[in-house]
């Protein structure tokens, strides 16, 4: 049986982490290809429903990343997002959804190496956890 390759979806903000990931590439730092990066205007724009949709579409793990506090392009988007994630994590955990599969991070446009590290460690952590079967097994007969 081939080794399990985790599928990681990363929701990142345009101004910091996306630019940081770009720097990872231009610095020729090699990192795990298991991640699919989706760019958002701001972490404040990342609706919690997108995480559920990612899991439903087969993600084994999720990365949410944006600007460090006080660095937000829109001043406070990341502060609002942080509050939302505090509550959302608690709710997911209470419902038995595996919060260990969701990694939050602040990666600035200058932190190309940190981005590679966040991705690599998340991929390895999720590899250990295995495929996210719970979500895959949910009945969705009639789903559109």
């Amino acid at each position: 049986m081939p080794e399990f390759e985790p599928r990681i979806v990363a929701f990142v903000c345009n101004w910091c982490t996306y630019a940081g990931a770009d720097l990872t590439g231009t610095s020729r730092i090699k990192y795990s290809p298991n991640v699919e990066v989706i760019r958002f205007p701001c972490t404040g724009r990342i609706d919690f429903m997108l995480l559920l949709k990612a899991f439903a579409e087969g993600a084994d793990g999720i990365i949410i990343s944006g600007c460090h506090p006080n660095d937000c392009h829109y001043t406070s988007g990341n502060f609002h997002a942080r509050r939302r994630w505090i509550l959302f994590r608690g709710l997911l955990d209470f419902m038995g959804i595996d919060v260990e599969r969701v990694q939050f991070s602040w990666v600035s446009a200058a932190e190309g190496a940190k981005w590679a590290d966040v991705v690599n460690t998340t991929v390895e952590a999720v590899r250990k956890l295995g495929p996210y079967e719970n979500f895959r097994k949910i009945d969705r007969a009639g789903a559109v």
């Binding site: 006080n70 502060f79 419902m95 038995g96 991070s105 969705r140 007969a141 009639g142």
Partner: protein
């Protein structure tokens, strides 16, 4: 009750309000919401242990708003709802009369939102022991057991949206579940869509839910929605020291932030 009827009659006679939103006898032994518009019907008002519905839900309903200035018979959760709705700019000071009858037949008329704030600050909101026991039981489960528990619960959901319809804080004229560009919540009631719906309902009420319990009571299949609400209420209190419905100003946990909010889960 006499005090309440007397007050309602006087308010209607003086033209101070156009409608009194209160409880009346329903079918069987039930109490139901009634909308009293003529002074001589004030005697239909009742208030006893059966009167649990949070009547503040009608304050934002267009059919009721069109009747004119209301007086509302408010239980403790309804008082909180009044403040929360005021904080969200859905109702304004002076736009309604708030009547809180006591179990002993007494009646408090609140003149200002500040008076309600003062009253609530000193009032206890006891939690039903059976519901607390269920909360403790679920919290003590392993993550896997919790997942099975919730999957079992939500697989029974029939997507009737009675929980939303019954909720006084779900007043958006167009709910996300009715949006189909994109379709956030699938129409059929399969487990995935039910899960998404229940997470979304709880999250959209995070920091706004006043814990009246009407959603749980409205659910025809008895899903313990109060558990989801209370997890969020608890997390909001412990992390942000905020509580919905205690102030008539914008103090909604997710519309504010503190630069020092916890981030020990962020790399």
């Amino acid at each position: 009750m006499d005090e309440l009827r007397k007050k309602a009659r006087a308010l209607l006679e003086a033209g101070e309000v156009r409608v009194v939103i209160g409880y009346g006898g329903g079918t069987g032994d039930r109490a139901r919401a009634i909308f009293v518009r003529e002074p001589e019907r004030a005697d239909e008002l009742i208030f006893d242990g059966r009167c649990r519905q949070n009547l503040a839900i009608y304050l934002t309903r267009r059919e009721v708003k069109e009747l004119g200035k209301p007086a509302i018979v408010a239980t403790l959760p309804a008082l909180k709802t009044v403040l929360q709705l005021a904080g969200e700019f859905q109702i304004a000071e002076g736009g309604l009369v708030v009547l809180a009858p006591g179990a002993d037949g007494s009646l408090i008329e609140f003149k200002t939102f500040a008076d309600i704030e003062k009253y609530l600050a000193g009032a206890a909101s006891p939690i039903d022991p059976a519901e607390q026991a269920e909360m403790d039981r679920v919290r003590a489960m392993s993550p896997d057991e919790r997942w099975k528990y919730w999957l079992g619960q939500i697989s029974r959901c029939i997507k009737c949206y009675a929980c939303r319809q019954a909720c006084p804080m779900c007043y958006c004229p167009r709910c996300t579940v009715e949006c189909n560009q994109p379709q956030w919540i699938p129409v059929p009631s399969h487990e995935l869509g039910n899960l998404e719906w229940n997470v979304m309902r709880a999250m959209h009420l995070a920091g706004r839910c006043v814990d009246c319990g009407d959603c749980s009571r409205a659910c025809p299949v008895g899903i313990p929605l109060y558990l989801l609400n209370r997890v969020l209420i608890g997390d909001i209190e412990s992390n942000f020291h905020q509580r919905a419905g205690m102030k008539a100003e914008v103090d909604y946990a997710l519309s504010t932030f503190h630069p020092d909010d916890r981030e020990n889960f962020i790399r």
